[in-house]
C-alpha cells in the first residue's frame, strides 16, 4: 500500500498495535483528578508486573491518601493499609511469604509524616520489598494540607500564607534519609510527567523488582515526584511545569543509591 493511501483507520488494526493500557489495570475510571501523576505511576507498576510475569505472585499495598483506592485499579491482589503503616503490612506479608513480590504505594503524608517510623525501620531492617513513594508535596486526598515535603513558601490549605520553615519545619528529604541506612539497597528519585521520565521510572521499578526477586539484601525505594494540581490549585500542565521549576531543584531526580552503594554526586 502506498503511504499516501493509508488512512488512520487502516492503521488502527490489531496487528499494528504498539501501546495499549496493560490488562493489569482494571477498566474502572481512575478516581484521580485530571492530569494527576498517580494514574501514570499505577500504570507503569502494573506494566512491570505484567511484563515480568509476576501477576500471580504479587501483593500490593495501598495507603491512605488519594491512592487509597489503588486496589480498584491495579488488577492484582492488594491490601489497604492504615495511614502510614503500609511498610508494616508489607513486612508482615513478606516475612511470612518470602517468595511473593510485595510493594507498597504511598504518598508523602503517609510515608513521611505519620508513617515515618514504619518507613525508617522497614528500610533499616532491610526488608526485601519495594516502596513506591509518590511525593506531590501535599496531602492531596484530604484537601491540600501541608505535607512534610511541602516546599518553603509553598501555599497549602494549612499554610495559606506559604510554608514558614521557622514555624513549620523544613521540607523533608525522606529519600536521601533512607539512603543513609545500610538496609536500603536501591534508592532513586524519578518523575512521570514526560515520556522520557516515565520510561526511566519504569526502568527503575523494574530494577527494584528484580532486586527483590534476587533478594539482594535490602529494601528498594523508588520516589516519584508528582504533581497534585488540585492541591496546588493549577492546571495539570502548569502544575507539571511548576514541578520542574520548583520541586526538582529541591528534590533532584536521579539514582541516590545503587547496588547498596550511595551514588557519588558530581
Amino acid at each position: 500500500m502506498k503511504e499516501e493511501n493509508i488512512t488512520t483507520q487502516d492503521i488502527i488494526a490489531e496487528e499494528n498495535l504498539v501501546y495499549k493500557k496493560t490488562r493489569l489495570m482494571t477498566d474502572k475510571v481512575l478516581s484521580y483528578c485530571p492530569g494527576c501523576g498517580h494514574g501514570t505511576a499505577h500504570r507503569i507498576i502494573m506494566e512491570v508486573i505484567d511484563e515480568m510475569g509476576l501477576e500471580e505472585k504479587t501483593i500490593g499495598i495501598a495507603p491512605v491518601g488519594c491512592s487509597v483506592l489503588a486496589y480498584e485499579f491495579m488488577n492484582i491482589d492488594m491490601q489497604q493499609a492504615a495511614h502510614g503503616r503500609a511498610p508494616a503490612l508489607a513486612t508482615g506479608i513478606k516475612r511470612t511469604w518470602p517468595e511473593k513480590v510485595v510493594f507498597t504505594y504511598q504518598g508523602d503524608g503517609d510515608l513521611a509524616a505519620i508513617g515515618t517510623a514504619e518507613t525508617i525501620h522497614a528500610c533499616n531492617r532491610g526488608e526485601n520489598f519495594l516502596i513506591v513513594f509518590i511525593n506531590n508535596g501535599i496531602y492531596g486526598m484530604t484537601g491540600g494540607q501541608m505535607a512534610p515535603t511541602t516546599l518553603e513558601g509553598m501555599k497549602s490549605s494549612t499554610t495559606p500564607y506559604g510554608r514558614n520553615t521557622k514555624l513549620m519545619g523544613n521540607p523533608l528529604k525522606m529519600t536521601e534519609l533512607v539512603a543513609e541506612l545500610p538496609g536500603t539497597y536501591f534508592v532513586t528519585r524519578q518523575a512521570v510527567h514526560t515520556p522520557a521520565n516515565v520510561r526511566k521510572t519504569k526502568k527503575a521499578i523494574k530494577m527494584a523488582i528484580k532486586n527483590q526477586l534476587e533478594d539482594k539484601g535490602g529494601l528498594n525505594f523508588v520516589e516519584i515526584v508528582s504533581n497534585c494540581n488540585s492541591g496546588w490549585k493549577m492546571t495539570p500542565t502548569d502544575a507539571n511545569q511548576w514541578m520542574v521549576d520548583n520541586m526538582f531543584p529541591f528534590f533532584p531526580l536521579g539514582d541516590i543509591k545503587v547496588d547498596g552503594k550511595k551514588v557519588k554526586k558530581d
Partner: protein, 359 residues
C-alpha cells in the same frame, strides 16, 4: 496426654503458639508480658516450625504487621500490655473492618496512663465494648490459668478464622507471670500454601486462577458501608449464639452469685469456699468469653438468686454487662481493687457479707 511442664503463662503462650502451627508473632516488649517474645526468640521457632518472630519498632507497627500477614491468610498473633494495646486500637478496628483473623493478647496492668506494672482488669471495656472506633466486636477470651493461656491460643485461632475476626485474650499480670503446670498439645504443622489458599480463599496470596482479592476496611459509599456493617453485626450475633463459654462452681443451690473472670475468678473460687464454710450459699460464675457474654446463663439463674456480686480488679466494668443481663431483677453490686492491688478471698467474703448479708 501431652507433656507436663512448669511454665509462666507468658511462656506457655509462646510454646502453645509454636505448637499450634502459628505462622508469625510480631510484638514490642512491655512488662508484664515481654516473656512472650523472649520465650519465642529463645526457642528458635524458625528452626522448629518456620514460624517468624519479629520484634517490631512499636506496637503500631506490630499490629499492622499482623494485619498484613493475616490479610495474606497466615495465622498471626501479637501481644502487649495496656498502654501498648491502646496504641493498637486503630489497627484492631481496621482488622475488624477488613475481617481479618488474628489473636491479640493483652496482659493487663494497672492504669490509666503508665500506671503500674502490677495486674489489673481495667481494660475490660476496651476489649469488650470496642476501644477502637466504629461498631465492631472481638471474641474476648479470659484465661484463668497457665493451662488456659496455652489452650486459648489454639481456640483463639479457630474462632478467629471461623469468624474472620480478631480474637483478644484478656489476661493480666498474675496469669502472665505465674508459673503453673501446663500440659502442652502436640505439634500441629503450619498450613501449607495450598492449605492457606483452600481454607482462606479471600486472602491476598497472589492472583492465581481467580479474580483478584482485596483486603480493605474502606467503602466510601455509605449504602455499601452500611451493608458491610450489617454483615459484621450478623457475625457478632452469631458469636453470641455459638461462642458463649463459662464455668460454674457450686451454683446448683446458690442464693448468691459471684461473677469473676481471669485471675479474679481463682480468688473468688476460694472466697466461695470460705463463704460456704460460713454458711452462705454462694456460687461462682466464671465467664470465659467476655464477648460474647454469658448473659443468658445469668438470666437463667435469676429465679434462685438473691444477689450478684461482680468481682473485678477495676472500678467496675463487667458489672455493667451483668446489670444489662439482670435488668434490675436481682440486686447487683461490684467490688474491686485497683492500681495493681489484688483482693484476698477473705476480703471478698467480708465485703459480700457487708453488702448482702448485713452487719
Amino acid at each position: 496426654m501431652g507433656e507436663l511442664k512448669l511454665m509462666k503463662g507468658n511462656e506457655a503462650i509462646g510454646e502453645a503458639a509454636i505448637r499450634a502451627g502459628v505462622d508469625a508473632y510480631f510484638g514490642y516488649p512491655i512488662t508484664p508480658q515481654s516473656e512472650v517474645i523472649e520465650y519465642l526468640t529463645s526457642e528458635k521457632p524458625e528452626e522448629r516450625t518456620g514460624m517468624v518472630i519479629l520484634q517490631a519498632e512499636s506496637e503500631l507497627a506490630a499490629i499492622n504487621m499482623v494485619y498484613g500477614a493475616a490479610g495474606s491468610g497466615k495465622k498471626v498473633m501479637t501481644s502487649s500490655s495496656s498502654p501498648g494495646v491502646s496504641l493498637k486500637m486503630e489497627g484492631i478496628s481496621y482488622m475488624a473492618g477488613a475481617e481479618l483473623p488474628c489473636v491479640v493478647l493483652n496482659v493487663v496492668r494497672g492504669g490509666p496512663g503508665l500506671g503500674t506494672i502490677q495486674p489489673s482488669q481495667a481494660d475490660y471495656f476496651q476489649a469488650v465494648k470496642g476501644g477502637g472506633h466504629g461498631d465492631y466486636r472481638m471474641v474476648v477470651l479470659a484465661p484463668a490459668s497457665v493451662q488456659e493461656m496455652a489452650d486459648f491460643v489454639k481456640l483463639g485461632f479457630e474462632l478467629a478464622f471461623k469468624y474472620r475476626n480478631p480474637v483478644m485474650m484478656l489476661s493480666d499480670g498474675v496469669i502472665g507471670q505465674m508459673m503453673e503446670k501446663v500440659e502442652l498439645g502436640e505439634q500441629i504443622p503450619r498450613w501449607t500454601e495450598e492449605e492457606i489458599i483452600r481454607k482462606n480463599p479471600w486472602a491476598t496470596t497472589g492472583k492465581k486462577g481467580r479474580e483478584r482479592n482485596i483486603i480493605t476496611s474502606l467503602d466510601l459509599d455509605p449504602a455499601r458501608q452500611e451493608q458491610h456493617n450489617h454483615k459484621l453485626q450478623k457475625k457478632y450475633r452469631q458469636m453470641e449464639e455459638e461462642e458463649v463459654r463459662f464455668e460454674k462452681f457450686e451454683c446448683d443451690d446458690a442464693e448468691y452469685l459471684f461473677v469473676a473472670y481471669g485471675s479474679s475468678s481463682r480468688i473468688a473460687q476460694k472466697a466461695v469456699k470460705i463463704a460456704r464454710e460460713k454458711g452462705h450459699k454462694v456460687g461462682l460464675l466464671r465467664p470465659i468469653t467476655l464477648f460474647p457474654y454469658p448473659a443468658k446463663e445469668i438470666q437463667s439463674m435469676l429465679g434462685q438468686l438473691k444477689g450478684i456480686l461482680s468481682l473485678e480488679l477495676s472500678a467496675g466494668q463487667m458489672v455493667e454487662d451483668i446489670k444489662l443481663a439482670v435488668e434490675g431483677k436481682v440486686p447487683v453490686d461490684h467490688y474491686g481493687r485497683m492500681g495493681g492491688i489484688i483482693f484476698s478471698p477473705a476480703e471478698i467474703v467480708e465485703v459480700f457479707e457487708e453488702k448482702f448479708i448485713g452487719g
